[in-house]
């Protein structure tokens, strides 16, 4: 642990860049005022810059390490997207300033809606959701609104496969639905017989990721579509893995009625240490009235440039409503827009091609290096799963140990213990922006840890050894809760 910024604090020390001193607050009654100054650190600008720069150096990141974190699409975030989203006029724009003073930014947002419509194969898009999980919420809320608009109040269940992200069932609950899980068959597809048995007049919809979190394409997606639609349910596409098919297959063509897109994955906006993301939603024609607001509309004007406006609840009375105080994460949307424009229509399909190529190459090389694949008979999508079950049985080295030792080798660990149905799994997603040399170096690191696990398992079980801290005690963290510094 570095010294806390609070421990660097010295009474009276401050940055030179302060607002003018105004001592009195005559308009506010004494009882409403704060009695003691807020307990913030007192530090010089150099103290602060040095402290947080040092903290940054304790992170792994895409800019510094290979980061093959499955289901997270840790691809390079182009710097131009950041620079152009942070142009001073965009940063200074107040969200409630008149639309006439924001035609530039609104044009970008409108065009992003168009791009996402095309890529997803949907009839309309709202950029309002501020993250993937909020996109899911909006999507399921629209499914609910659609059933209710038809007077169908009997639909009380959302179906999710057992391989689904945890956000899917959590979202269904937030939208007031019961969750019914359907299992995966041995080849990694949804078990169709169990799905047929699960659907009925109580089915509001099915939430599906395709390719699934198992790293394979759901081959019988059209059968799934027919089963769910025949039961009167709608199909929700969790866009977490869109990077695998962008520019190749459109979710709309697979029969999905609703989709959310994680712009921080497929459209390469930064993950920022945990956010902000953006999770725009797209819908088929019949769900258009329910899209969350605001939506950017383009109004043609004879003899003048088109005008862009934000449509709110008064213009869209059937909308599921607002999800934020203003217009979602505009700065993230602008980054995605710049990225999409630089890729262009010819670049979109290449993303999926090279992401898939890198994943399949890595899968073959790891198999050749002695790793066991969870679905050896299947083609990888943009990611795939290695299971260390046998290694654990033989050596006691778990997927967690293996992951921690990879950190010592200078690569970020793949996703571990997800999906939940594959024991001791590593979910590996290299993304399209990595070179063959990086992939080969990763294979070498994996082989080295495998060798260590067999010859010196204690070394792996006690990893990491070279990080700023050794393995952390999560049990103590939850038991002796310390979530805020106190003097």
């Amino acid at each position: 642990m570095s010294t806390l910024i609070f421990e660097r604090s010295r009474p009276g020390r401050c940055s030179a860049q302060l607002a003018p001193a105004e001592l009195a607050c005559p308009g506010i009654p004494e009882a409403l005022l704060r009695q003691a100054p807020p307990p913030l650190p007192e530090a010089s600008e150099l103290d602060v810059v040095r402290h947080y720069t040092a903290l940054s150096q304790k992170n792994f990141s895409i800019d510094t390490q290979f980061y093959p974190l499955g289901s997270c699409t840790m691809k390079y975030n182009p710097r131009a997207a950041n620079a152009l989203a942070m142009l001073p006029e965009f940063l200074a724009r107040h969200p409630l300033a008149p639309a006439a003073t924001g035609q530039g930014v609104l044009a970008c947002l409108y065009e992003l809606q168009e791009i996402l419509c095309d890529v997803s194969g949907m009839a309309g898009v709202s950029l309002a959701p501020m993250a993937g999980a909020q996109g899911e919420f909006a999507g399921v809320a629209m499914i609910r609104a659609w059933h209710r608009s038809r007077g169908d109040h009997a639909r009380t269940e959302i179906i999710v496969p057992d391989a689904a992200h945890g956000t899917n069932p959590a979202t269904a609950t937030m939208c007031g639905y019961a969750v019914r899980e359907v299992p995966t068959d041995r080849s990694g597809n949804v078990d169709l017989d169990r799905l047929r048995a699960a659907v009925g007049p109580q089915t509001a919809g099915l939430m599906l990721t395709n390719p699934s979190t198992l790293g394979v394409f759901e081959q019988r997606i059209l059968d799934i579509r027919d089963i769910v639609h025949a039961a009167g349910g709608l199909l929700y596409y969790d866009g977490a893995n869109l990077n695998a098919i962008v520019g190749q297959v459109k979710p709309g063509a697979m029969g999905f009625d609703v989709i959310h897109v994680n712009l921080h994955k497929t459209f390469s906006t930064p993950h920022g240490g945990g956010g902000p993301g953006a999770g725009p939603v797209g819908v088929a024609e019949r769900l258009l009235p329910f899209l969350p607001v605001p939506i950017v509309l383009r109004r043609e004007r004879p003899g003048a440039a088109p005008a862009y406006v934000l449509a709110g609840e008064s213009e869209r009375p059937h909308s599921i409503g607002r999800l934020s105080a203003f217009m979602g994460n505009v700065g993230v949307l602008l980054r995605a827009y710049v990225y999409a424009r630089m890729l262009g229509r010819e670049g979109m399909g290449r993303v999926a091609q090279f992401a898939t190529l890198n994943a399949n190459y890595l899968m073959v090389e790891l198999r050749n290096a002695g790793f066991e694949l969870a679905y050896p008979a299947r083609r990888a999508s943009h990611e795939f799963i290695v299971t260390l079950k046998r290694l654990k049985d033989q050596t006691g080295v778990s997927a967690m140990d293996f992951a921690k030792r990879l950190l010592d080798k200078g690569v970020h660990a793949p996703t571990t213990y997800f999906p939940l149905l594959v024991p001791e799994c590593l979910l590996i997603e290299p993304t399209e922006t990595e070179s063959k040399e990086t992939l080969d170096a990763f294979v070498a690191a994996m082989k080295a840890v495998l060798e260590e696990a067999r010859t010196n398992p204690e070394l792996v079980k006690s990893a990491p050894h070279t990080m700023p801290v050794r393995r952390l005690d999560d049990v103590k963290a939850a038991r002796d809760l310390d979530v805020a510094w106190k003097t």
Binding site: M1, S2, L4, Q17, A19, A21, E22, G27, P41, V48, Y52, S56, K58, N59, F60, D63, T64, L84, L87, L91, R93, P95, P98, T101, Q103, C108, I115, C117, G121, M130, A131, G132, Q134, G166, T167, P169, M174, M254, H271, G272, G273, G275, P276, E313, L323, S324, G331, V332, R345, E346, M348, Q353, N358, Y361, R379, K404, P468, R471, V483, A484
Partner: protein
């Protein structure tokens, strides 16, 4: 690489996808642009939007952000890192989150904070759900009508499908604050929580002590909705009334986050220590490593969707990491003195503007004290006045007619430390000219 895989071409990698589904046509996506071309386009669009002298607040506030803030947080190590699930390789992000939680807990005077939610409005919705979980016997929550209407709308969207009933409480027409008499007139006190906004969306400062005590006396939780810059001056929610508010939330944007047309911002949430296990969202905690040395990790993950799935406290998966990093650096740079100066200068600026406008016959609508924002009665239709001021490069405030029919000649105006005396003089001159024209059209 294709040879190693054993396929002839890259398209063969998609052979498990039914051929009828393939569609590579993207007619609505423009052709690719080089970085230089897209730079020119974006610069032109930014220039088209221009720069304005803005006096609009209403939930998003212009404050000066020191250059160091975004230079530090856009370092690749913060910018391009993932959620710190591999704690040993993410100590930078985790320590920063712990420091953030400490700062925001201190600012609100409560024990525990999460690592942030999406924005102020969605944070309020999560607080409402949290209060209902904590209260157990009521699913009714009282919201003031003086809540920002976009907040009320967001809360409605997010909580409506979980059977939560929202009851709206009117504001006192003279003061612009919640009327305690109106509260006592409520026929049924069986609510889970009362939301108390300080300041409220009309800019008015509530009697937070009396309201908090009233909520507690009626068996409700008190949810504070607060402006974090105002808290440098105002009593923190943890010290409201005899026992303090139970949950505090708010929009974090005023802490070093640019307006950026509406986002990304972040919502903060703090609570009493006893309630932390019902809090949604990520939490960073301090612990020790295998050698006993201190370090940081995400904690209480058993509340979250990736563990608890359909029984999680929320479906939220992200925090607003990078924006929170900016707020943390911002608070560290300003320190207690700097944040208080920003708050005082903002308050003083509004007082000065009110004084300068008085000779024009423009007066605050409400009698309650305010922080840096207030409702002005123009006595003439507002929109033409705003349009005329815009001709002079000034965004004069927010017309409140869409919020409430009662406020059709009212303007919500905000002053922060970014406005100099010259800026205020320009505002007054522009309004004076616009009013003269409105009262005596040529």
């Amino acid at each position: 690489m294709l040879d190693a895989i054993g396929v002839p071409g890259i398209d063969d990698l998609f052979d498990e996808i039914p051929a009828t589904l393939k569609d590579v046509q993207l007619p609505r996506v423009p052709a690719g642009a080089r970085e230089m071309e897209i730079t020119r386009l974006m610069q032109a669009r930014a220039a088209q939007d221009g720069r304005w002298s803005s006096f609009i607040g209403a939930g998003a506030y212009e404050h000066y952000v020191p250059a160091a803030v975004w230079q530090i947080v856009t370092r690749g190590e913060f910018y391009s890192a993932y959620t710190p699930y591999q704690a040993e390789a993410s100590q930078g992000t985790l320590q920063l989150l712990y420091e953030y939680q400490s700062m925001i807990a201190g600012l609100t005077g409560l024990d525990a904070a999460n690592a942030s939610l999406y924005d102020g409005a969605s944070a309020l919705a999560e607080a409402v759900l949290m209060a209902v979980r904590l209260h157990k016997s009521s699913r009714r929550v009282l919201l003031p009508a003086s809540l920002h209407p976009h907040y009320a709308a967001t809360v409605r969207t997010i909580v409506s499908s979980q059977g939560v009933e929202l009851v709206t409480l009117p504001w006192c027409p003279q003061r612009g604050t919640l009327a305690l008499q109106a509260l006592d007139g409520l026929d049924d006190h069986g609510a889970a929580a009362l939301v108390i906004a300080q300041p409220n969306a009309l800019g008015a400062l509530e009697d937070v002590h009396a309201l908090t005590d009233w909520a507690h006396a009626h068996g409700m939780l008190a949810i504070a909705l607060v402006n974090p810059v105002a808290l440098a001056l105002l009593a923190p929610p943890g010290q409201w009334g005899a026992r303090g508010a139970d949950i505090a939330v708010g929009e974090g944007q005023p802490l070093g986050v640019p307006l950026s047309a509406g986002g990304p911002y972040f919502g903060f949430m703090t609570c009493r220590g006893a309630h932390v296990r019902q809090m949604p969202g990520r939490i960073a905690g301090r612990t020790v490593d295998a050698t006993g040395a201190p370090g940081f990790t995400l904690t209480l993950q058993a509340r979250e969707q990736h563990i608890r799935r359909s029984k999680a406290t929320s479906n939220i998966c992200t925090n607003q990491g990078l924006v929170v990093a900016a707020a943390t650096v911002h608070m560290a740079l300003l320190g207690p003195a700097g944040l208080q100066r920003v708050a005082r200068a903002s308050h003083a600026g509004l007082q000065r503007l009110i004084a300068l406008l008085r000779p024009l016959g423009v007066r605050p609508r409400f009698a309650a004290p305010c922080f840096h924002e207030t409702v002005l009665d123009l006595g003439v239709p507002v929109q033409p006045v705003l349009d005329a001021m815009r001709e002079r490069g000034i965004l004069g405030g927010l017309h409140l007619a869409p919020w409430s029919g009662e406020l059709h000649e009212a303007l919500l105006v905000c002053v922060t430390e970014t406005k100099t005396e010259a800026d205020l003089d320009d505002y007054v001159q522009a309004m004076s000219a616009a009013l003269a024209h409105a009262r005596h059209p040529a």
